[in-house]
């Protein structure tokens, strides 16, 4: 075959240009009509729900396809780790799935850049979902609501009752407040120097628990460097100095705490209602040795939602499916299977969430559901990873005793305000 120079240069140039442009992303191509016909194919992306809940998800998809002939839904599930990076790469290359599972902190930056559809235009959300869950997807500075609330979660306290009872504490009356926590941690450290009750460092959520404002009213400046917040850190520093926390707590993250609990190295951790099952599965000696109580002070509220990509080529179908997945019937069914809590109104009448059958799993569920009634979002969604990292590093310095709690907070607020201004 004859290959001329012109043909070759043109061909190679075209290939390279295509490859380069493919990585450049570009402007959103614009979605279809939200009021159009419900038909065609869409993609639905979940976050770490398969294979455990594949059967349920396929069932929901089959029901939707049957109710809406001419539609087809492809299920995509992404692994738990690195989900934000995956969504980020999908958004930056304009390949977001039509319908996707997002928590509000992931939805916020996408909504700010017009990647998500304002679902309040399509659905009367307050009529179906509890108010707090809808508010979680309403962001300051962006008009609209950017996700259908799906399932809710909160943390409860898990105590190693065997260790508590062996170390001079009463597992039937575990700490209910931060004050009691520190008192009992001191008792435990004296009775059992090899065991620890506390294995965490405080964060922004702890300040919210004590009624300290994290941001000013318009969300433009961090203001949590108060003497009250400093006192919380100093209290942890004192406990650390007294040997009431393991030294590696300075490096630990949230998962580290639950990991140490599973290994039997610490006597307290927090976790969702499903955590009890994994504790017992990963360490069978914890079976019947875990006491459950509501979170200290105020319970945290975690919200999962289902958002719709603004440039979906089948917007009407995507909206209909997102609403279908999160309707009362489907949410209730999922909540029963996954031990999570529905965000639809009227769920409090379901005895599954209110009656304890005596199993640890049911006890965690009922405790969590009761806590949910007063649960709050403890950390503002505008706090990003770099901010959390910096604050954690400064707090760790204070807990080790290198600087005071107030110094750690002042330095952090200055840096975080700088990072916030650059967002």
């Amino acid at each position: 075959m004859r290959i001329t120079r012109t043909t070759l240069v043109t061909g190679v140039g075209a290939v390279v240009a295509t490859a380069l442009l493919a990585g450049c992303g570009g402007e959103s191509s614009g979605g279809s009509d939200a009021d159009g016909e419900i038909t065609g194919s869409i993609r639905f992306q979940t976050w770490s729900l398969t294979p455990t809940y594949t059967e349920y998800l396929n069932g929901v998809i089959a029901d939707f396809e049957e109710a809406n002939p001419g539609t087809s839904v492809e299920l995509l599930d992404q692994p738990g780790d690195g989900y934000s990076d995956k969504v980020l790469s999908q958004a930056s290359t304009n390949t977001l799935p039509d319908v996707l599972n997002l928590p509000p902190d992931f939805a916020l930056p996408l909504a700010q850049q017009d990647f998500l559809y304002d679902v309040s235009q399509a659905t009367d959300l307050p009529a179906t979902y509890v108010e707090g869950s809808v508010e979680a997807f309403r962001f300051a500075g962006v008009e609209g609501v950017y996700g259908y609330p799906w399932y809710l979660g909160t943390d409860v306290n898990y105590w190693n009752s065997q260790q508590l009872d062996a170390c001079g504490l009463d597992s039937s009356a575990p700490p209910a407040t931060t004050d009691e926590l520190f008192e009992q941690a001191a008792t435990m450290a004296q009775a059992c120097p090899e065991n620890y009750l506390i294995s965490r460092v405080p964060g922004l959520g702890d300040f919210t628990l004590e009624g300290i404002d994290i941001l000013n009213e318009d969300g433009t400046e961090f203001i949590f460097n108060t003497p009250e917040a400093a006192a919380i850190i100093d209290r942890y520093a004192e406990a650390y100095a007294n040997g009431e926390m393991p030294p590696t707590v300075l490096n630990s993250d949230y998962l580290g705490n639950s990991q140490l609990f599973t290994e039997g190295k610490v006597a307290w951790t927090t976790g969702g209602a499903t955590a009890i099952d994994s504790f017992e599965e990963n360490n069978p000696s914890l079976k019947d040795n875990v006491a459950i109580s509501p979170a200290l002070n105020i319970s945290p509220l975690y919200v999962q939602g289902v958002s719709v990509a603004a440039d979906s080529q089948n917007l009407a179908t995507a909206l209909a499916f997102a609403e279908f997945v999160t309707n009362t019937e489907n949410q209730n069914e999922f909540a029963h299977i996954a031990n999570v809590f529905p965000s639809t109104q009227g769920s409090d009448g379901d005895t599954y969430f209110t009656e304890d059958d005596g199993t640890p799993s049911a006890q965690a569920r009922v405790t969590g559901f009761e806590s949910l009634q007063t649960a709050e979002v403890l950390t503002p969604y505008s706090v990003n990873g770099a901010m959390n990292d910096y604050l954690g590093q400064q707090i760790a310095l204070a807990i080790r005793g290198d600087i005071s709690g107030q110094e750690a907070l002042d330095t952090s607020v200055e840096k975080l305000n700088d990072l916030l201004a650059r967002q």
Partner: protein, 317 residues
């Protein structure tokens, strides 16, 4: 006129045609062929190396964000921020100290090990394999194992306390310089085998007759090492020094895993790559600043390379 004069008329009186320069299909195909072979690699290099590098330089002068939107040119603002950022000074110091400790250890120790396992003795393959095994182990897994060992209640502290070397556990995972030293130990342990292989290849090229001649001249083992072996492996040594410098300045996994991603209390054991990762990740990552840090990192990596190149050229002169 000679028989080879192709411009001369041929026997039949018809002039012989001079071959056209570069026009014929055969010549074109010949020229194109090497480029066709190179094209996949060139395209790969362009898309995954040259283009991202150029884009990083561009972004360093902007306020780029992962999701785009309102991106604007900010001049040298990101570089000015670097000068005011205490974390950069810390991270830079950690990375450079890490490199300065790793450099001699990973340049000299593998040579000594290579000399030990070079000899053809029964069972020597076992030792070669044993030294090389850490190289093929996953860096993350190895770092996790070392983290368990260096924990306050880990093997190292436990043994040291039992043998009464220490009364209190050493904070290997929470104190800045102990974190750096722990990470150096891990890196050296894991890297010895790799560089040992390079030295083994280089030692194979050092002529035995040189050693024999030196021995006949009365040179002892040390003298033969300095006068014969070292000059023989000088090229490999410089290559290893360059590789160690570049790899050590980019240290990430070891410190990241050992400190649970935090860089220790106050982030005081953060390395440059950890800092770049910290700023660039997530939806609201500061890509402009992270790019400026990457350029600084690149500039710093080039310095030891230039120094080593200078040393090499002087030695050759």
């Amino acid at each position: 006129m000679t028989a080879t004069d192709i411009s001369a008329p041929a026997a039949g009186g018809q002039p012989t045609r001079r071959p056209r320069r570069g026009g014929g299909p055969a010549r074109t195909t010949n020229r194109i062929t090497p480029w066709l072979f190179l094209a996949p690699a060139l395209a790969w290099l362009l898309v995954f190396s040259i283009w991202p590098s150029l884009n990083t330089i561009r972004m360093a002068f902007t306020n780029a964000k992962p999701l785009g939107g309102n991106e604007r040119y900010v001049g040298l603002e990101n570089f000015a921020l670097i000068l005011r950022d205490d974390q950069v000074v810390n991270a830079l110091l950690n990375s450079v100290v890490f490199m300065l400790i790793c450099l001699p250890l990973l340049t000299i120790l593998p040579l000594l090990i290579a000399l030990l396992v070079e000899k053809k003795l029964p069972g020597i393959t076992f030792f070669r394999t044993a030294f090389y095994t850490p190289v093929i182990a996953s860096a993350v897994v190895v770092a996790l194992i070392w983290t368990f060992m260096l924990d306050d209640r880990g093997l190292v502290n436990g043994l040291a306390q039992q043998l009464s070397f220490i009364s209190e556990p050493l904070p290997f995972l929470t104190e800045r310089w102990l974190i750096v030293i722990s990470a150096v130990s891990l890196t050296v342990w894991k890297g010895l085998g790799y560089y040992m292989i390079i030295y083994l290849a280089a030692l194979g090229n050092v002529g035995k007759e040189l050693h024999e001649a030196a021995a006949m001249d009365g040179a002892g083992a040390v003298r033969r090492f300095t006068a014969v072996t070292l000059p023989g492996v000088r090229g490999a040594m410089l290559l290893i020094a360059v590789l160690v410098c570049v790899a050590a300045l980019r240290v990430f996994t070891e410190v990241f895993i050992m400190t649970g991603g935090t860089g220790g209390a106050g982030g005081e054991a953060l390395t440059m790559v950890m800092l770049i990762q910290q700023y660039s990740r997530g939806f609201s990552g500061d890509l402009g600043y992270a790019s400026a840090l990457s350029i600084l990192m690149f500039a710093i990596t080039v310095v030891p390379l230039l120094l080593l190149g200078k040393i090499n050229s002087r030695s050759n002169a």
